[in-house]
């Protein structure tokens, strides 16, 4: 117990003695964890939005005002990809829009006529063939426009893929930089304490006794970075989340209201951030000690 408190004290005092390098390590590690963490959140949120969009895999088939809606219904029902066809009259369509944009009712009041066309909402059985289905629906006589939710899904998918690549690239590059910086901090600590270390060896200090303060130093910087980046992630994420919440009328329809709330995952995120920070700190320390502290 005596030893443990002594070793912890040595580790903490070493952070203060090398405060410039420790601060640099802390900043780099914080930025690394923050960017990787935010990328992770974006990836997860994109996944949730994609799931929502997939759940609403209805294709909107808008028809001309004078179209033969029964004929179109028959054509749609005869398509092997179609599982369900639901008719929405122009009146129902307008009502639905009014409900969706409750805050902007004046937009609808000033309309000289109902601009919503008669629509069939078509559910298909294979999402992978949605492009084919859209192509087939577009050529039906009386159909003037076909909207597929997968245009938006494709956009979200692109965002998710981009953030996955960016997240992995950031994790690898900034992780490596963090490890190098921490390793360098440890090297400087070893150099600053070289006389002490030499005496420790002579008088019979064990390897673990000599190395523990450096671990304490590296892992403390890692933990502090984890905590700092967690706070920054919370502030940034909740800020962005707040922006979406304010305009949920629009975003809610796209499934944005289901994205992760930071408060729901705050504890888990804190643990992951601190564990990742401590792990990076430990790896940097081990690498440095294996090179500069051969006992």
């Amino acid at each position: 117990m005596n030893n443990l408190s002594y070793l912890l004290k040595q580790g903490f005092s070493s952070i203060w003695k090398n405060r410039l390098m420790s601060f640099a390590s802390l900043c780099i590690l914080t930025v690394c964890l923050l960017l990787v963490g935010l990328s992770g959140f974006v990836m997860l949120d994109c996944g949730i939005i994609l799931d929502n969009v997939s759940d609403k895999n209805e294709i909107s088939v808008y028809m001309e005002d004078d179209a033969d809606i029964n004929h179109i219904k028959d054509v749609l029902n005869s398509n092997t990809l179609v599982t369900k066809v639901r008719y929405i009259s122009p009146e129902e369509g307008l009502e639905s829009m009014k409900n969706q944009y409750k805050d902007q009712t004046e937009l609808f009041e000033s309309l000289p006529y109902n601009p919503v066309p008669p629509t069939y909402m078509v559910t298909i059985n294979d999402l992978d063939k949605i492009d084919m289905a859209v192509g087939q629906f577009q050529v039906i006589q009386g159909v003037y426009k076909v909207n597929a939710p997968m245009d938006f899904a494709g956009f979200i998918e692109d965002i998710r893929n981009t953030f996955t690549i960016v997240g992995i690239a950031l994790m690898l590059s900034l992780g490596a930089v963090s490890i190098i910086i921490i390793a360098n901090t440890t090297r400087i600590s070893v150099f600053a304490r070289r006389k002490e270390i030499a005496i420790m060896r002579i008088v019979g200090a064990t390897n673990s006794f000599i190395r523990t303060p450096f671990f304490v130093e590296g892992m403390t910087v890692g933990l502090l970075s984890g905590f700092t980046s967690w706070i920054l992630t919370k502030v940034i994420y909740e800020g962005v989340f707040g922006l979406f919440s304010e305009s949920l009328g629009m975003w809610g329809a796209l499934g944005m209201d289901n994205i992760i709330k930071f408060s729901d995952v705050a504890v888990q995120t804190l643990l992951v951030y601190c564990a990742a920070g401590a792990l990076l700190g430990a790896i940097g320390t081990v690498l440095s000690m294996s090179k500069h502290l051969k006992i």
Binding site: N2, K195, R201, V203, N207
Partner: protein, 228 residues
């Protein structure tokens, strides 16, 4: 206590530092080791402290076979040996008390033991009133006394003094040897390497002389100055 059997050390550079050395130092002895530069004194000390292993032969110290000791056991072996260097090797940012206590802390001794032992050894080396002074405020002689106190703090069975009088005023050299002899009287074996033949002539005792890696003299010589 210390035994070397047919020990030879050949360095990679082709230097034969020690050649077929046989040596036995019993518990409680005080031994001077002398020799010119390159005679093999440093190599001998490095063998005894297990900084190096012999190319041939076997080394036993304080019951440890240093030729095939496990790496993990080396720290525990070193706790049984106190080291004193000519350049003192004190930690600059620790005061006299903490420099001495440092050894006990790193070897896991309790606070209570440290509180009892450190004042005792500081009294032995007559530095009680300098306990709070930092190394940069001490004279060479005082620094070496701190180093002796540190070596003796863990009550080792063997103290190795590597030219402990080399960096202090000649007049104080005698005080340092007197201090080491006092520690020796407590039952601790002392092996002191020195260039100063005048000290050997003055104090007398067992003298081992090395030349070109071989022991050329090993016997007890009489001292002109003080009796045991």
């Amino acid at each position: 206590m210390v035994e070397l059997k047919n020990v030879s050390v050949h360095y990679k550079e082709g230097v034969d530092a020690l050649s077929n050395v046989n040596l036995r130092i019993e518990k409680g002895e005080f031994v001077f080791i002398v020799g010119d530069s390159g005679a093999g004194k440093s190599t001998l000390l490095k063998l005894i402290t297990r900084e190096i292993t012999p190319t041939e032969g076997r080394v036993f110290v304080n019951g440890y076979n240093l030729t095939n000791i496990k790496k993990s056991k080396i720290p525990y072996f070193r706790r049984s040996v106190g080291m004193i260097f000519q350049d003192f090797r004190l930690i600059d940012n620790l005061n006299v008390y903490d420099n001495v206590a440092f050894v006990m802390r790193v070897t896991g001794q309790s606070k209570r033991d440290i509180r009892h032992r450190v004042p005792y050894v500081l009294d032995l080396v007559k530095l009680t009133d300098r306990a709070k002074a930092y190394p940069n405020k001490l004279s060479g002689g005082e620094m070496q006394r701190v180093a002796i106190a540190r070596a003796f703090a863990s009550d080792p069975g063997l103290i190795i003094a590597d030219e402990p009088t080399a960096n202090i005023d000649p007049g104080l050299s005698y005080d340092i040897v007197r201090l080491l002899r006092e520690i020796n009287k407590c039952g601790t074996t002392v092996v002191m390497v020195t260039h100063e033949h005048s000290l050997v002539e003055y104090f007398g005792g067992r003298l081992i002389s090395l030349k070109s890696g071989e022991i050329i003299f090993d016997d007890v010589v009489g001292g002109a100055g003080e009796d045991e």
